[in-house]
Symmetry: D2
Subunit: 346 residues, 4 copies
Amino acid sequence: MIVVMKRGVRAEAIQQMVERIREMGLRAQVIEGSERTVVAAIGEKRDGEQQMLESCTDVERVVPILAPYKIASLEAKPEPTCVQAGSLMTGDGHIGIIAGPCSVESEEQILESARAVKAAGATALRGGAFKPRTSPYSFQGMKEEGLKLLAAAREETGLAVVTEVMTPEHVELICRYTDVLQIGARNMQNYHLLQAVGESSCPVLLKRGPSATMEEFLLAAEYILDQGNQQVILCERGIRTFETHTRFTLPLASVPWLKERTHLPVIVDPSHGTGLASLVPSMCAASIAAGADGLIVEVHPHPAEARSDAAQTLSPAVFQEAVEVCRRVAEAMGRTIAGPQAVPVA
Amino acid sequence: MIVVMKRGVRAEAIQQMVERIREMGLRAQVIEGSERTVVAAIGEKRDGEQQMLESCTDVERVVPILAPYKIASLEAKPEPTCVQAGSLMTGDGHIGIIAGPCSVESEEQILESARAVKAAGATALRGGAFKPRTSPYSFQGMKEEGLKLLAAAREETGLAVVTEVMTPEHVELICRYTDVLQIGARNMQNYHLLQAVGESSCPVLLKRGPSATMEEFLLAAEYILDQGNQQVILCERGIRTFETHTRFTLPLASVPWLKERTHLPVIVDPSHGTGLASLVPSMCAASIAAGADGLIVEVHPHPAEARSDAAQTLSPAVFQEAVEVCRRVAEAMGRTIAGPQAVPVA
Amino acid sequence: MIVVMKRGVRAEAIQQMVERIREMGLRAQVIEGSERTVVAAIGEKRDGEQQMLESCTDVERVVPILAPYKIASLEAKPEPTCVQAGSLMTGDGHIGIIAGPCSVESEEQILESARAVKAAGATALRGGAFKPRTSPYSFQGMKEEGLKLLAAAREETGLAVVTEVMTPEHVELICRYTDVLQIGARNMQNYHLLQAVGESSCPVLLKRGPSATMEEFLLAAEYILDQGNQQVILCERGIRTFETHTRFTLPLASVPWLKERTHLPVIVDPSHGTGLASLVPSMCAASIAAGADGLIVEVHPHPAEARSDAAQTLSPAVFQEAVEVCRRVAEAMGRTIAGPQAVPVA
Amino acid sequence: MIVVMKRGVRAEAIQQMVERIREMGLRAQVIEGSERTVVAAIGEKRDGEQQMLESCTDVERVVPILAPYKIASLEAKPEPTCVQAGSLMTGDGHIGIIAGPCSVESEEQILESARAVKAAGATALRGGAFKPRTSPYSFQGMKEEGLKLLAAAREETGLAVVTEVMTPEHVELICRYTDVLQIGARNMQNYHLLQAVGESSCPVLLKRGPSATMEEFLLAAEYILDQGNQQVILCERGIRTFETHTRFTLPLASVPWLKERTHLPVIVDPSHGTGLASLVPSMCAASIAAGADGLIVEVHPHPAEARSDAAQTLSPAVFQEAVEVCRRVAEAMGRTIAGPQAVPVA
């Protein structure tokens, strides 16, 4: 850390800072500038030292040097991680395409969805059984009944299933039915939940919170990794900004930025990222061009009848065309998207 | 809801919309404008109708008319709610002052804190036993041991205790030791947790999430109220914006805005709202001037030694002076802050 | 406009609103809802009516139905506009590639830059002669001397020149040397400047302000169009959000959103949009995949020596590779980027 | 500056950085950390050095130590500045109250406004003659005719006049009629305009841009100060965030933050800061409690008839009550607001 002292502090204050740093078990080095003195604290341990130093009387501010995440970093593991879960492969060159309805609504709906997205090129099926809804008066999902329908859809199509878990006590139940546990954006900093999925052996798709910094995002992943589960997929799904013409703002530069710093796969959710179905296909293509390791897209056989997220949901036909464009864009970037035939039928 | 149709849609499309609205059990009224036709859907039921209509082919957008929260609204209960929990009274004219350290660190620290904040004018004690920390490598709190120390501090000083609950399975445990359950900003949309505290009989302090809209904030309260717990205190604690000179941006206009719409008490957390101890006293005074029903402030007997949030923590002496100023500001506004003598000693 | 009345207003208040709307020369239609009454004001004239109605006593809020921009809208001109300025063509199927240094620094630097970006595939040269700088102590550009060097570079390479104009009194001077006038993000709402370039016959590249909504952006274009200049290129260059890992946040969904509403060409500036050279190539590709009509990229023969924006500037070699990738992505999308041979040498 | 080198760079790269820093005329000091090496560059000159160093190959990032503003800083002038302009005094203990309509609309309207705000306690009159409007189709102000009416209102009431200047070529004209030149939020980074008002001898009220950082705000002031005009009032008027329930978000913590760093007076505009008349009085009181040196408030004799900003405009009666509350809050803070009798009648 670099401790910037206030202007005009006396020599004793600097000496006290040096001693304080040493008491923390760190090494101190003083740099006398033209207008300010700064003290470098060397050997930082990445816990509360920064805040303690910040609160000292003569300190203007403290600048950390090291990133606080460890296991997620490329420094810890320079080779890209491929997360594999049934028919889904993402990372280390593999592009996964996850698609399906926002919510599981009925057996017919989820089976029709699964067949349609598979035919269109998806390599995994998404669908919510436990739904986080802003209002307590909105449809909250079919719960375990929905999980069973997802498992049936997997049985028929061979597609891996991705579904959200909202609370630690559901982890075990949901793991019985799904291939990938999704942590929703609202729960990105629900640490008990992160630890609970970290203790499971099921791969995790972690969505970025709408106001999470990259550091907070990687530290949320770190909570999972630190429990021993190394199968974590990061998902950019848009942030909350002053823009209201889209539901969220989709900052695609986070894809290459993350890939410069972490070995984990990074996918994009253009459905929530825009909230508008007409923008989703071009954002799918842009995500692949940005280097994403996959997509998660809301597709419903009859979008206008969807019980949630209808406005951002693609029809199977539009989704299929979007996947075709993505496949060509991937090739333009020197990458490939595996065709639907790559998915084994059960 | 007001359904704005796309420009130049044919009469049949409008007729279809009218029929669709009727199928939803709503009444439809067509308004032919100079450039657009809009269709009013009357009698809305506040669930997914909006999104379903938005996804129809010829619809440009759908504008809701009714606020989606009900129990929290002044329309449902025009009289202000006073939440009382032991020595803490907030709302309906009462201004509560909650103060204490970020984390419980030791018996000596929490007892010294409790005595100091009581002497300075606080009417409740805050302190974290289960701590949500951005990094898994940071101090996570003393857990149940911390709860016991909080209860001991209450025993000695008579101050009500406010402490955070992070996961549903801890609700019962924490209720045994505390007077008010705090839902932290990261968990504002952790719906299972909201429901769990809604089922308890313990008053709840609900912090606004850093990217939550007012509507989302009131709907989070609605999750608690809907379970039967009517003792909810709303807490503005700052939002995430492009500003980096403060930890968060503290938007005090949310206080009068909320009080125009809800009967629930609204308090402010200027410690997290600014992140800088030197700004906290003036933001305490500004909060009271803005009409807040209370404050929650981080105070530690030795701020520089605090294990978390040190940079935003006040010393007891600075806090006492801030309370004095707040008392005078409250009087200037025609309100009163009860003195420390109002708190009974056990 | 839709005027939402407060809850429980008396019939007289609604009648007064109806009369007020009629006094404005508009037609009124009352819709009695279950909990609210709304009054539609039909025939709106897009000026201050909304705010006047909002300030009436019994009004809760007013919802506009029509977009306030006219000439820029696809409704006014359904055919896409191609802006042509010398070697630069953008819009209506043409993808323009504008590249060059942030600032003109010397004859050698700008000539070397022009040759390099042309060889790499650029169809126009950018370079700042009058530089808006956050600090008054930073290099402010070579001014007219810089314009002459830009003109010399055009003379030699045949590349159209794009340069920024900062104040109305410079419009005439800069028009003598340049092919496209750039309005920088800081000046997007400098209305006298917009009117001044609107009166010129020189094409205009209008950058989005970092906190401008889409509506404000299109209305800024409308200021130019309304003066008679129809050659306006819109440029998304990133917005200011809470994200600090990039200089700005680049919201690429604005590209397809704008193209659904305006006939004007939309290009992207990934250099300012990210601020980090390593992210620029993937954001170039993503912009093309998102449907952009062009790019504007900072390229310097020796990035580390650039007097401004060094951290976000590409070397010619990296830029050339980025253009190659963009060319392949454009083909994947069914579009083409004209090769460098398309630019005539003077 | 502190140059953080990338992980694992070779000793030669560090040596090259040291030499590069020396070539810039700065002193270099190397700090070998446990995981990173950082190089301090001492004696920084606050121009483009930071960006040049950032663009070097082996550099991870560069952290500036010194604030880039100089004349505005408390370090340059530790005594608070009082800006005096006719009846308006603000700063160094004086609280100025500026009030009046958004736009000058007629002789009767501005005279009635001036009398009313004076009676209510204002010490200066605001009113727009040249109006920056988002849409080219909105009322653009009465221009020079409006300036003459403002001067007439000053003549009658003795109130100093504050009005906006939008373009350099109007500075001289407007200075003939006004006491304070206002730079609107949209023009905070219109550097030619800042320089033009900096060359005048008229005091300047500089509004913060809606996406300006504190550093950009102070550097905008620095542009004015650097030209020789030392009479600058800073005005917080709200920032653009994701919040839509208010027109902007009013971050009052910027008041005490600025006053810790600059000697210039800091006032608040709660009218634009909230956009809702019902929130303005409590935000006036909160601003004074936060330590503001004054207020600028939109007041119109008949708010519902105002041609612009009607929804955020107070009636004289509501404004008078707000000033009374502010006077009591100021006293609670140990300060005073001079009564209306303090303003001499011409």
